[in-house]
Symmetry: C2
Amino acid sequence: MHNLTQQSYIAGDWISPSGANFRAQDPVSLEVLAEHKNCQQSEVNLAAQAAKQAFDNYRQTSILDRAALLETIAEEIEALGEQLITVCNQETGLGLPRLTGELGRTTGQIRAFAAIVKDSTWTQASIDTADPARQPLAKPDLRKILKPIGPVAVFGASNFPFAFGTLGGDTISALASGNPVIVKGHPSHPATNELFASVMEKAIAKSGTPKGTFSLLQGNAISLSTELVEHPLIEAVGFTGSLRAGRAIMDVAAKRTKPIPVFAEMGSVNPVFITESAMTQSGSSIAQNLANSVCLGTGQFCTSPGIVVIPKNSDFVNSVAQVMTNNARNVMLNEGIGKAFVQGVETFIENSGVTWINKNDNLLDTPIQPPNIVLNTSAETFLNNSELQHEVFGPATLIVECDNEQQFIAIAHALDGNLTASIHTTEQDDQIVKALLLQLEQKVGRIIFNGFPTGVEVCGSQNHGGPYPAASVAASTSVGIDAIYRFVRFVSYQDTPSHLLPAELQDSNPLNIMRRVNGQFNANPIK
Amino acid sequence: MHNLTQQSYIAGDWISPSGANFRAQDPVSLEVLAEHKNCQQSEVNLAAQAAKQAFDNYRQTSILDRAALLETIAEEIEALGEQLITVCNQETGLGLPRLTGELGRTTGQIRAFAAIVKDSTWTQASIDTADPARQPLAKPDLRKILKPIGPVAVFGASNFPFAFGTLGGDTISALASGNPVIVKGHPSHPATNELFASVMEKAIAKSGTPKGTFSLLQGNAISLSTELVEHPLIEAVGFTGSLRAGRAIMDVAAKRTKPIPVFAEMGSVNPVFITESAMTQSGSSIAQNLANSVCLGTGQFCTSPGIVVIPKNSDFVNSVAQVMTNNARNVMLNEGIGKAFVQGVETFIENSGVTWINKNDNLLDTPIQPPNIVLNTSAETFLNNSELQHEVFGPATLIVECDNEQQFIAIAHALDGNLTASIHTTEQDDQIVKALLLQLEQKVGRIIFNGFPTGVEVCGSQNHGGPYPAASVAASTSVGIDAIYRFVRFVSYQDTPSHLLPAELQDSNPLNIMRRVNGQFNANPIK
């Protein structure tokens, strides 16, 4: 239990920021939950300087200490008990079952990172021993290892207040690899952010971690985000949110005297392709599951299927529409997101070729609890209007009907970068699917067969990223253990005395980890 | 033998570009060697469209075909025999011994990439098998692998016409990972570029590789570089050169509608620290070797030691100066680089606290063949003037004398990003060295003990990169096999029928490669 104070948390101190007020609102009752205050440049400075100072100590902590910090974080989150779920549900309206599930995933991923840190194989320790006799030049001893890069700014997402929030994957992967973190908490759920900061206060105290290793800056002002990204002591950014906000942060980072990497996951329309044979064999169950996938989390998933490409089939379109209409209308995360959803749908249906199949006149009246919307268009209209590829964040999907297989391929070819693409098919359609795959491999981070993109399995073979605009760095993932590789870089040591090397690279292999030694993986000491 | 035509090479065709003339000059005789023409937007379009088209086929070539292409490239380079070295020496003045050595390194690295490609372990194939019985949700089958990203633009360097040139590490690592390449050849050695294009013409024909896989655009106009980086079909950039040019390319790439990654290696001042005990024990041999390292390649190495930090010691400074004065004066790569060197030195000595120790009044007269220059200053002056950290590309080094150990640490703390740092020391100075290391690990990509940064060993544990401004992406290396990871990204396949997967991920493991299967590395088939 933590007594909520509407404060920010900077390097061990709870402070009342000096900036303008902003409000947290219950999206169900529309009740104002609390008044909060924006952090400003002075708080950014304080947090950044503390982070930089903490970095020198934090990056030297042993792998056991760092793993202990992560495990303590998971325990302290659980110790908050019902308060966390209750407070977060008030702020987000996501519902207790969903939040309970997300919390389990969140503590699970924290413990997964703790395990990775303890193992230390993730540091990719590599050793090439010397050969003084080599001609024409002696070969030096070279050893390299991944090292943390410094203070990371994290921008939490509105739609996953736990898994991509203040102590979500970005923060935890940065901490795991030895970097201090400054979180700009999402203003849609400030009390939830505060609870996570109280977790960090306890976990840092218990584990003896330097206090500057974590700060939480609350606020909704664009200037706060800009000042944080511009701060010269910030070395990288993790972001989950909209393309507009993500691109703005990318642009600020690129214009710095010293540009820094931004790892932004900026959403996606997640095209679903359904072949003729799959339609024939299981069209009605696909329609049912598709509709449910679109409605999951009120459509507020970065993996929500926003475009469905099918052979002309009005029965299928109507089936999807019927399930969507019958599914419960749920609340959006906040009024702003609800209004943006309504506006997005309206922009789509302004196109003469786009039809709203399950039309409901109340769209404008209740943006906070909108209907589940099925839109329909032709391949021709879709191919002639790249705006139809824009993400409409919420419970809507656009079904694109094709006259022939060439249009399937043409649509795949015309796609922007996406997190995922899905293909429903049977062996009968292997030929078209092979051609589709060839296109989709260039466009997305994950390809799903006979399933839907929502529900992101957390494992080593997961990839949650994709070409721009889905992500800023197509080569990175923000889900799974590989997320740790965003906030590190190699340092190579040449002819360095063993006792001055990081433990992972020392001759005796004191941590007993797997290393690449002259090209072979083993845990042997160097003689 | 190839008959030089002063043409560019686009996707199998030799073409005469339509742009303005530029000249290649012998830096020794100052004789104009040939008139060349700039490529323009139309040639950029032609090359980019051909590359995009070739990509669909090239990325599907088998690993054996791709390895065969690389091996054929190495053979065809060797088949050029003396012509390549002779032509390049005329254009660069680097001398036959150096160029012969660099050529061996270049064909060696091409064959190393061929071996890597054949092995296919570099693709980091990872498989997590399904568990349909898992509660509360069935676990899907997920498999991931690194895939090429598309056409790469490569900007060759002036100072390594082979190893970082038209068929240098950037081009070869991009080809190895399945990407077409468009080279903007360095205008300082266009005939050398043309010879490499003739190599590609033969290698592509012999191996049946799609012609659009390689193009060479000649030119010296900034607009050509900008148009290439702006082209929407280009997916990434490899660059080796100056900070000014590299940053300009970074800025163009960041402003695109779809920003793309730029892997720029932009040089460095490579600080060398010499502790009191090392100075006492072996000061004179360090002075000798330092001077030789600075003069190597007329100082035109990105790893040339430009700053030397020592305890106050005028004997050492004078020793370095004496060796440098006695070392031969060699030619710079071209007049522009020579003039920039003279200007850089002049800017330094305009500082009241900086002394030119081995002063030579002819500096201004012969920028193409300048003296080897030793500058000297105090720690205080250095710390108060960040301009003294700017790279002066050529045979000069700045020796910074410290009054105490705190100044050593303060200088390390004040350093910008660098490719390397070197420490000359003995066990007696472990305490100060540990404090130094803590700073330098944040500032550089490679740390060298009791040696010099010139001479970059090519092996798995090498790292050639560093924090900005040394490189645009601190997490990447442009030397060694890991350079391949710049031009790929993961694609994850969920519940995908085995016969539709890339060979590396298929159940039977037909390529017999090491894969991470449910967290364990092995080459076993999936049952």
